[in-house]
Amino acid sequence: MGKTNPRTEGMPATSEECRTHPHERVPVFQARGLTRVYRVGDIEIQALRGIDLDLYSGEFVVLLGPSGSGKSTLLNILGGLDAPTSGFVRFRDHDLVAADEAALTEFRRDHVGFVFQFYNLIPSLTARENVALITDITPNAMRPEDAIRVVGLADRMNHFPAQLSGGEQQRVAIARAIAKRPDVLLCDEPTGALDVTTGVTVLEAIESVNRELGTTTAVITHNAVIAGIADRVISLSDGRIVREEHNAIRKPPRELVW
């Protein structure tokens, strides 16, 4: 894996985590007692029922669970798109619960890269321009061309979304997400709309970003096979974390079959 992340003094990790984790790392996210209740009409939906979670710098986490397990809600809260009903989330020294809408926007702008199931590219912009959209507003960004090269689409740079396959569009979305050199890359079912072969190329792109740039990466999926490529697999069910596993060796994406 070749990651050499020095331990930071004062890291507020629990002793248990230090013991169970092979590497001692800085926790990027800290969440405690997260609950999230949606009210739809008269019905209350308990999406999260008390989640405690730490994400460490540079690690690759897969959040695994069936639909309705609360994994998207968790990701949205971590990404500053949603707020928990109770509990707290901290990104480094940012309290995400206390943050207002504008502060959350700044948080996303400065620290988070998103990859969505349906790519969400701007149809009127070419691949390069979609990436440039982000690099324009970020001070320390890559050149859009370099970001696109990372995902292996140098030759498709000037194509519009409608001229790209689903896998290519998702790789552009990844390039867009990483171009600002985010601290954390959050991927919501990135292969959900793709076939196996294409899905693998997309996962390879994500994996290589994590490996080469050291970006903390969280991928949510309902596909258990994908779990093999992660450092850590957190399984959710009915709004709770039900299992946590560590992979001693990360499987390369091209070995995955589903």
Binding site: L125, A132, L133, P161, R176
Partner: protein, 788 residues
Amino acid sequence: MTALHRKLLRDLWHLRGPATAISLVMACGVATFVMSLCTLETLWRAQSEYYDRYRFADVFVRVKRAPESLAARLAEIPGVAQVETRIVEQVNLDVSGYPEPATGRLVSIPDYRPPRLNQLHLRRGRRPEPEREGEVLVSEGFADAHRLQPGDKVRAILNGRRQDLMIVGIALSPEFIYQIREGDLIPDDKRYGVFWMPRTALEAVFDMDGAFNDAVLSLTPDAVPGEVLRRTDDLTEPYGGIGAFDRSEQASHKFVTNEMSELRGMALVVPTIFLLVSAFLLQVVVSRLIGTQREQIATLKAFGYRRSEVGVHYLEMIMVMAVLGVILGTVAGAWLGASVAAMYARFFRFPEFQFHLSPRVLLAAAGLSLTVAGLATLGAVRRAMALPPAEAMRPEPPAAYGTSWIDSQRVFRDASPVVRMIVRQIARRPFRSAMTCFGISLAVAVLILGSFMVDALDDVIDLEFTVAQRQDMMLTFFEPTVGRGVANVRHLTGVLSIEPFRALPVRLRAQNHSRRLALLGLPSDARLYRIVDRDRRAIPVPRHGVVISANLAKALELSAGDWLTVEVLEGKRPVVHLQIESLVADFQGESAYADLAVVNRLMQEGNVVSGVFLTADAAHLNALYRQLKETPQIASVSLKGAALTSIRQTIAANILRMRAFNVGFACVIAFGVVYNSARIALAERGRDLATLRVIGFRRGEVSGILLGELALFTLAAIPFGLLLGYGMADLVIHMAYDTELFRIPLVVNRWTYAFAATTTILAAACSGLIVARRVGQLDLIAVLKTRE
């Protein structure tokens, strides 16, 4: 209520913003249509009822002095139904407490019976009795202006003698619906009034025993008017007849008719603009709605709804918006119409003038609006009907963008992605973009259309009262006067300079065309009253021939250098041929000028004048007025400053009010177009915009993308709108204001352009900001979970 109707109501509720905008724009169109046509019909009905009930005459005859026996001969002319002879004189008035001189028109009425023609409507008081000296009826306008009541007195100079006119009643006549002094541009009730006096009383004062100087005739239905006029002229010529004329040349009738043709022009142009805009908005909104409801349409069809039921469903939705517009427009139109009618009631004196909401007009407005709404959305509704269910189940295909010519442009290559987004979005739907631009430019155009009139009139006023006329007042004498009368005026207190003129009633003939008008003789070095064309160039007084209006030359089919026949209708009635030395492109369009010396030579008279223009020392005005009121030879005094004030007041009262209406209307258009464009842009690109928000764009930046596009449209629309407004103003001038009476110049000044542009930008900005607030309400999570 069926489920489909519930859907209809809920969809409408969901679309309440755009639907309201559409209904409002449509309402503006309906309102102007209803206002103009109902006012037109109100005017028309009031006029024709008044004419019928009070027997308005068909032919008007002026003579110098004719024996009463001529009346019987006039009555014998085939086609003449009735004849009423009268004595009509212009006199100077002295109203107590009012320093400036005023002019009165004295009209005789038969002693013991109502007139056969031009009967009076007695508002208050009683008819004057011939036995009691000086009893008169006064016209309502003058009475109102001076708060005169029966029992009040007005002093007048009758044939050189001072006499008190005792007001016993206040009356109206179909002859003076619009009460304007000859030669004035706008009525001035303070300085001009009509008085009716028993015939014998007037005969005595003006030495007209058994004689008359004015006659009015009515015609039988089978009369040939031209023939009657010709025969009348033949009969009156020996008695100094200055040419009989029909209603088309009667001052009051001419102005009322003119107003009606203006209203008709307005009823065509302005509502058409609004209906066009609302049609466009409807088309865009309904197409968009049907696009987003593809799956719902497919589901309805899959469950067995017929094509026609789907079509009717959407048509009902469209009709709800249109009917709402019609109802709102009718209410607004009725209100505006009543307000315009009230304005007319101040200028046009009818016995009754009640705004009439014509069912015919309302039906036409409703029919027109619903038809336009239906036609505009026909294509979209048919697409909904034709949608195959299986295909419609799939969501609308995603927007396909490709490279276009614009990508190769140099400027574009360095543009930011946000700018590219905006430009490509515009370029992707060129038709809709163009229509949006066009819609906004119509708002600009409506503003210019509603405002240019003030500019145009300002221009006329400035030209007329500053460049051409430099006198302070104009005096006319009862009789053409020789030098001594002029000298008397020169020696009045406060008179600084004078300049004589001669106004000669003539008939100009060229082949089979002829025109009656006053030929104005001016001194060759005229300074106080100059011949000036539309470009403010002074044209020298012709040395031997005449200068006539370009418009008049056109009507006579003559050009500069041609000769025309001048029949003088006064004195020895000479007929001479004069050459047109040059044409003057002026506004009033019916002027003819000659050298005063030439006029006097052709009249075989010495140094004779009809009046003088004069400038006066402002410090001595009241003294001068007092002397003028006591000078018997002076028939009338026209004060330029007073005329100017009265014109400005009229403009303020009427045109500025219309302008306010138009500003309101234009704001509705600009607001409606921009609001709808923004709403649709938001709906179509909500997903893109939400994505940008998720990946870290600030709310302001995302709003900027949405508003940037609208700002571009607005900025592009403005220059075009300014041009369009100029063009429409030109069209309106041709359709409504290019009458023989008065030609309004096409003048739009810089402030009006700036006003139109600024108002449109403000209206657009307001609506844009309202929509931009919705950017904050975008559902960031939902948008990520749905496929486009």
